[in-house]
């Protein structure tokens, strides 16, 4: 009897130790660093995610960074953009922001998300042995281009920022409190990266050895050159701007799209004027551009919010003959039967049958031929386009040589496409042409993420924005240099006291 029990005991004890021998969990649905970077297509996936970070996720909440919210910083804070919803965009719209403003915080967060993905991809792809050197160079060039876009945006918004690169990943110290790096130092890194990228990247991806489809969303030689030109433009290195813009023109691949309104339709995802764009498809990775930009109670573009709108003040500055004036919804009969239009004054009360709008919606990302019936839309957002090359060259030549015919011609080339009134050189000096270029850039690039950088580069941010605020009956609060850069987001300042907002708003 005892023996039987003891046998049972031994049996029991042997069961005790027998289970769950390996406690390494099976990883079913994620890649780990043991298997994530093996093949060419692994590397391509890492590259693709960096591009993907220019916009929100492919499903839901697709309004971050270049698909909408970036414009809160670049355009709402100027004499062009207007938001009548109050809150964070309202603060920016009236130049009343502070470091807790969520839109400022988000732009920082998502630009750095791209930087971080880029750093990870560079770090991991550099170490790969399963791809050719040519492939590696191509991938690294694309990634570094995207990273340069993000750093360019970050330095526009915040000036000196934390410079984080792939080098920090070898032995990361997540609790470090780095000091911001000067814009000049960051610029020189970006210029180096973009120079290498412009040498390595193809003009386009038709019949490419690596990518099987003509991937129009990828960085090209022209894109690298144009971004490099933009960085020199900000640094006011006019000669470089002149040289590189000439080089881009000389590539002979870009030209102005014949119709301004046509350029921005949802159907026109990519054309000869596009140098680098964020692509969306309404059904696969749609953006919420139309929701935010579309008109209120409009009979065709229904159920939109007119959130990122344009001030009447700006719209009224267009000539009637300028096609660009009609890239808006100035008046229409709404779904409620009311006539929507501009009031005689900002505070006028509309008579029966009318509704006066506080601001005006643009068609730029909300054209009535687009996905008017779907929640998400597929408008491309042009980060770099050819008109910018032309106007930047005009500006550089004006700065280098004073008033000159080529600058005027370049401006007229852009105007001409929209049937706007042409400039005559005789009517301008270097200084007034500079103002004309600034105004032209406003008319041409509203809500393309360029207005604030242009005003600051031309040192007109305080003058023009204050004048605008005064015209709309708001306090003229902009002062330079206090408002040149946004305050670092409060949450980041709390973490890293080296991000100092003492001289910022």
């Amino acid at each position: 009897m005892k023996r039987q029990s003891l046998i049972f005991l031994v049996l029991a004890l042997s069961i005790l130790g027998a289970c769950n021998k390996s406690l390494d969990p099976q990883v079913y649905s994620s890649l780990t660093n043991a298997n994530a970077f093996q093949t060419e297509s692994d590397a391509i996936a890492a590259v693709n995610a960096v591009y993907a970070r220019l916009k929100g996720p492919s499903i839901g909440d697709n309004y971050v960074y270049w698909t909408v919210r970036h414009f809160a910083l670049t355009d709402l804070t100027t004499d062009i953009g207007h938001c009548s919803y109050g809150g964070d965009p309202g603060q920016l719209s009236l130049a009343q922001w502070n470091s807790a403003n969520g839109l400022i915080g988000q732009d920082w967060q998502y630009a750095y998300k791209l930087v971080s993905d880029a750093n990870n991809a560079i770090y991991n792809i550099s170490a790969m042995s399963g791809i050719t050197e040519a492939q590696k160079t191509q991938f690294l060039s694309e990634i570094k281009f995207c990273r340069a876009v993000a750093y360019n945006d970050l330095t526009d918004a915040f000036g000196p920022v934390i410079l984080s690169t792939e080098k920090d990943l070898a032995s990361p110290n997540f609790n470090s409190q780095p000091t911001p790096t000067s814009v000049e130092t960051i610029d020189s890194l970006l210029i180096g990266d973009l120079q290498a990228a412009s040498a390595a990247l193809p003009l386009n991806y038709a019949n490419n050895a690596i990518y099987s489809t003509n991937d129009i969303g990828r960085a090209t030689k022209g894109a690298a050159l144009t971004l490099m030109m933009k960085i020199y433009l900000r640094a006011k290195n006019w000669q470089k701007v002149a040289d590189i813009s000439q080089q881009i023109i000389g590539l002979n691949v870009y030209s102005l799209y014949p119709s301004y309104l046509g350029l921005f339709t949802e159907a026109n995802k990519w054309c000869s004027e596009n140098i680098f764009s964020v692509l969306c498809d309404a059904n696969t990775n749609g953006a919420e551009l139309m929701n935010h930009f579309g008109p209120l109670n409009h009979p065709v573009v229904q159920n939109r919010w007119q959130y990122y709108a344009v001030s009447w003040d700006f719209w009224n500055s267009f000539d009637d003959q300028d096609d660009r004036k009609w890239c808006f919804y100035p008046s229409y009969t709404g779904v409620d039967g009311l006539k929507y239009m501009q009031g005689p004054t900002l505070t006028s009360v509309a008579p029966p049958g009318f509704s006066y709008m506080a601001d005006i919606a643009t068609k730029k990302y909300a054209d009535s031929t687009g996905s008017v019936l779907s929640y998400y839309d597929g408008h491309s957002v042009d980060i770099l386009r050819y008109a910018d090359v032309l106007l930047s060259r005009a500006e550089a030549l004006n700065e280098l040589n004073g008033i000159n015919q080529e600058s005027v011609d370049l401006i007229n080339q852009v105007k001409g496409r929209s049937h706007a009134k042409q400039l005559t050189m005789a009517n301008y000096t270097q200084s007034t042409l500079r103002d004309a270029i600034l105004q032209e850039r406003g008319w041409e690039f509203f809500y393309e993420g360029k207005r604030r950088e242009d005003l600051i580069r031309m040192n007109k941010y305080d003058v023009l924005v204050n004048a605008y605020l005064t015209r709309i009956g708001q306090p003229a609060v902009v002062t330079l240099p206090k408002n040149k850069y946004f305050p670092y987001p409060l949450s980041q300042v709390t973490l890293n006291p080296n991000l100092n907002n003492a001289d910022r708003q």
């Binding site: 406690l23 109050g86 309202g90 990870n120 991937d215 505070t347 009360v349």
Partner: protein, 1023 residues
């Protein structure tokens, strides 16, 4: 796979069981004799279910309904031990007798109770740890009570239960002795009939026999890595002694809203919005031709509603077996429309002694819960937000009967009523166990079980809504399943030499969890009829389908030694070694020891000479427990997809990016706890008190350490920081009056907990959490802050001084307009900056208490139960939002020149550069006392009617829940907290880091409205 595993488990148990059965009986011919007897109570009534044991053996039987027993006895000088809960033990030498008539005396039953402890049972008098017991008689049941948390709220000292969300079927926030952890969950571990489960709080509370809440390390350390937050041991009913009893219970209740926001009407709203626009120099939004209506959105979306409970259970008990079968139905209609919940549940519990040495048992629970879910988070997408802020001047419907839309968005009623959003949870839990006495005093126990929980969320957005119209109807189906397989084995050896008695336990557990998640959806429907039930009928698959699967493994070894000297000195030592797959190979093991001593001083002469105590026990314990409840795979660098369109056609290009900031040095969070307790009885046991003081220190916290966003993430999980909780608890039970016809008992508990963060991670000075977005255009802002020296969840913001009046010189807020809020310049630097913020109030109660009075007079029973929490604040974000939109406070807003004597600033807090909407104005003291339950029942004396003699009891009852609340708090309810961590339901398969925000307490925003419930019911017992 699943069926194979369970089949093998069954097979294994069968083999074990048959082994036990086939063993020859050890009875020897010599000295064998059969005896019989009857056990009665003091009034000579038969006592069923009394245990009759042959002393020194496992030979045991139980009396039947007539109080009779039969037992075969062996050995020299045999002695019978007669034990029954509630009666004094007796020992009777058998001698030459073969027929016994035994009368039991009622005892002071509190000390004789046998309670469930981890991996075993103990006499309550032998406990060395701090354990709170709540039995079914002392739970809040019926009405809208659907989970364990509701049933025990206020019933156990030091167990803070917060109904953070009043929606039907919502989980409760349960924290024992203050939160140990900053980032991971502070919810306790649930063990139901020996099975460790994350769904423990959701079982039907009516099936529960009793609950033991293990609080100190001596009690919890046997659960090692998962014991740090306390352990809730739930024992389900196994049937009453003696006979077959059928119990039926039916009740109906009605719920009445207790929260009603004060809102303005349409005319007022239009006038104010126009006036605000004019003041801000912008276009008035409601011109004369706007079709003004007065719509009461609150009235349209809420209702007084019903709740129904139906329960039947059958139980039976004979000397070898016990069985309990129950079926139950609960249906609660939400006071917010379209939030109904219904649950069917069933349980079978059975146990059978196959022979003297072998016992087999099993428990099976199955439930199906269906809810119309809405979002109740502090989120502007929650229906409460759209209801509270709905413009009252817009109509509900267009003339053609379709829903009216304003500014391109659906109105509040459409948003609430039109979408289908049904959540169905199916939960099955089965475990079986087998006890076998290998040699005298050495028992082998094996239990094996599985749990399967599946939650399916089906959503359909019909064509009547903006999003539905845009997509042509959109359906999604999300299914999350979790499986757990658990095998536990242990050996228990008891031996006594002289005055020393020992119980040794050694065991092991192996657990494996599988989590799976599946989503699919489509859009473009020709009809709304399919809802989410025919995804194939949609034109386009959208969103793209996703699946995710994760695995967690846990292996443990544990041991315990209980030692008693002369029944006077008691000692317990435990040790557990846990090995968890959540940590990297180098840090997988966690060793958790504990020790406790207790001294039963009742019989010491110096205690006796005091003439004060009828019983007295002092306990002291110290031990270390752990916490592994972080996301899975955290130690591995993982990558997840992030796709975009890059090509000329619309196909997605696949991308991958890092899924988190991994940390291959992750290890256990450990919690060291010291406890000193006194169990005291006074006045011949009529007054019993337990006092415990404790100090807990948690180190190597599994902390989401904030990192700069240049790393691509906002946090990294690391072991960093430490936190301390100190407190004192008092539980008191008194028998105030006891006569033949009248009795009055009181139970009271109160606890004080003081929490202090000691350290955070290197170079991390503070950890902040944000509010929810107060509107679509205003971001969440920093709202609570944690730094060393502070407790979790302290509100951090500006100090509000009032409104800037016309002509005020306020240089600290340059460019401020009259009517802007004015903040205190706390650092005196002459301007308002984020450095002027300060701590505005804690949000976790410092004191919690409950008092229950049970009065019995003849057939009447009255229970009056108050429960409360004290010394904390809530941030009333509803008030913030309402005072610039639709609340009556907007009528009192500052208007330059005409209405300046007010504290309500112009148009909210969002326009000014200075300060923030997080300020002292919306921080309110939330201390409360609540009459949680008032119930009266009457036992109809049916036994007087001969024809109804088959009815044992017929009871009618009426009760009110949340009848009265005494509080100064003006918001939704003093208990709400939309940031509450909620119960831990396994790691969310979709996320690598389950979001738990213990640091963000006390946010009242868009919470489900509170209500009171009246219930009447009838309960009948039939034999």
């Amino acid at each position: 796979m699943r069926t194979t595993t369970s089949f093998l488990l069954y097979l294994g148990l069968w083999v074990l069981a048959s082994l036990g059965v086939s063993l020859p009986t050890r009875a020897q011919k010599k000295d064998v004799k059969e005896i019989t007897g009857t056990v009665t109570d003091a009034r000579s009534g038969p006592l069923a279910g009394v245990t009759v044991n042959l002393k020194g053996t496992q030979r045991t039987t139980v009396t039947d309904a007539a109080g009779q027993f039969r037992l075969t006895i062996t050995g020299h000088n045999p002695v019978l031990q007669i034990t029954s809960v509630g009666y004094e033990d007796q020992e009777i030498p058998v001698g030459g007798q073969s027929r016994f008539s035994i009368s039991l005396q009622p005892s002071n039953k509190k000390l004789e109770e046998v309670v469930v402890v981890g991996y075993g049972t103990q006499r309550k008098r032998d406990l060395t740890g701090a354990v709170s017991s709540v039995n079914s008689e002392h739970m809040t049941l019926g009405g809208t009570i659907s989970n364990v948390g509701q049933a025990i709220q206020g019933r156990a000292a030091g167990v803070q239960v917060q109904q953070a969300d009043f929606s039907p079927g919502a989980g409760m926030n349960i924290v024992i002795r203050g939160g140990n952890s900053i980032t991971t969950t502070n919810q306790p571990l649930y063990v139901v009939d020996g099975f460790t489960t994350d769904n423990g709080s959701y079982i039907n509370p009516n099936d529960i026999e009793d609950i033991q809440i293990l609080k100190d390390a001596s009690a919890t350390a046997i659960y090692g890595a998962r014991g740090a937050n306390g352990v809730v041991l739930i024992t389900t009913k196994k049937g009453k002694a003696g006979k077959v009893i059928i119990e039926g219970d039916a009740s109906n209740g009605q719920q009445y809203l207790t929260y009603k926001p004060s809102l303005i009407n349409g005319t007022q709203y239009a006038a104010i919005q126009n006036a605000i626009a004019t003041e801000n120099n912008t276009t008035p939004p409601f011109p004369a031709s706007f079709p003004n209506t007065n719509t009461d959105w609150w009235k349209l979306t809420t209702q007084n509603s019903s709740v129904q409970n139906r329960t039947v259970n059958v139980s039976s008990n004979d000397k070898n077996s016990r069985i309990y079968v129950s079926a139950s139905y609960l249906k609660q209609i939400g006071v917010l429309k379209h939030t109904d919940m219904q649950r069917y549940s069933g349980r079978v519990g059975a146990e059978r002694s196959l022979n003297d040495r072998v016992k087999l048992g099993a428990n099976v629970y199955a439930a199906s819960t269906t809810s119309d879910v809405q979002k109740y988070s502090g989120d502007i997408t929650a229906p409460l937000y759209s209801i509270l802020t709905a413009p009252p001047n817009i109509p509900v419907y267009n003339p053609d009967g379709t829903y009216y839309r304003y500014l391109g968005k659906d109105n509040a009623l459409a948003t609430l009523m039109e979408p289908t959003n049904t959540s169905v949870n199916k939960l099955v839990n089965g475990n079986m166990y087998f006890d076998y006495e290998l040699i005298p005093h050495l028992t082998y126990h094996i239990s094996a079980g599985g749990e399967f929980s599946q939650t399916t969320n089906g959503q359909y957005i019909p064509l009547s809504l903006v999003a539905g119209q845009a997509n042509g109807g959109a359906a999604t189906e999300q299914m999350g399943t979790s499986e757990r397989w658990l095998v536990e084995q242990y050996l228990t050896y008891k031996f006594t030499t002289g005055s020393h008695s020992f119980t040794a336990l050694f065991g092991t557990t192996n657990q494996k969890d599988l989590l799976q998640f599946l989503t699919a959806g489509s859009k473009g429907y020709s009809t709304d009829i399919f809802l989410n039930n025919n995804l194939g009928a949609g034109a386009t698959s959208y969103p793209a389908p996703t699946t995710n699967k994760q695995e967690i493994k846990l292996s443990s070894f544990f041991g315990r030694l209980n030692y008693a000297y002369n029944d006077k000195l008691l000692a317990t030592f435990t040790l557990r070694d846990d090995i968890s797959s959540r940590f990297g190979p180098n840090f997988r093991h966690g060793i958790f020891p504990s020790g406790a001593l207790a001294w039963r001083m009742t019989d010491e002469t110096f205690v006796k000479s005091l003439n004060t105590f009828s019983s007295l026990k002092a306990r002291v314990s110290y031990g270390v427990t752990g916490n592994d409840r972080i996301g899975n795979y955290g130690y591995l660098s993982t990558f997840s997809p992030y796709n975009t369109v890059l090509g000329p056609n619309s196909t997605l290009s696949t991308g991958i990016e890092p899924a988190s900031l991994s940390n291959n040095n992750l290890k256990w969070e450990s919690n060291a706890q010291f406890d000193f307790g006194l169990d005291m009885g006074f006045a011949k046991g009529k007054v019993n008190a337990t006092i415990d003081i404790y100090r807990k220190k948690t180190t190597d916290l599994l902390l989401a350490v904030p990192v700069g966003q240049w790393w691509g993430f906002s946090t990294q999980t690391a072991n960093a920081g430490s936190i301390e909780n100190k407190g004192i608890e008092l539980a008191l039970n008194t028998e105030n009056i006891r006569t033949d016809n009248f009795s009055w008992n009181t139970t009271f508990n109160i606890a004080y907990n003081r929490q202090k963060d000691l350290t955070l991670a290197n170079s991390v000075k503070v950890i902040s959490t944000n509010t929810a977005n107060p509107s679509g255009v205003v971001s969440a802002q920093e709202f609570t802050r944690l730094e060393p020296g502070k407790e979790l969840g302290v509100i951090y913001g500006y100090k509000y001084l009032g409104v800037i009046k016309t002509g005020d010189q306020n240089t600290a807020q340059p460019n401020a307009k009259p009517g802007d809020p004015k903040f205190a310049d706390l650092n005196g630097d002459g301007k308002i900056t984020p450095d002027d913020r300060t701590y505005l109030g804690n949000t976790n109660p410092h004191y919690i208490a409950g008092i229950s009075n049970d009065l019995h007079y003849k057939g009447f029973d009255l229970n009056i139960f108050f429960q409360g929490a004290f010394g904390y604040n809530l941030y009333d974000m509803n008030r913030l939002v309402l005072e610039s939109t639709t609340g009556t406070a907007v009528l009192d807003r500052f208007v330059a020149g005409s209405h300046e004597n007010t504290s309500v600033p112009r148009n909210g807090y969002f326009l000014s550069t200075y300060g923030s909407y997080v300020n002292s104005r919306f921080v309110e003291n939330a201390s409360y006392v609540r009459l949680k339950q008032l119930s009266l029942s009457y036992n109809i004396p049916v036994n007087l009617i001969h024809q109804l003699s088959f009815i044992d009891g017929l009871r009618i009852y009426a009760s009110a829940q949340n009848l009265l609340t005494f509080t100064g708090y003006k918001g939704t309810d003093p208990e709400v907290n939309v940031h509450a961590a909620g119960n831990y339901v396994g790691a969310n398969p979709t996320s690598n880091s389950p979001t738990v925000s213990n640091t963000a307490g006390g946010l009242d925003f868009n919470a489900f409205p509170s209500f009171r419930t009246f219930v009447v019911g009838v309960r009948v017992d039939i034999h």
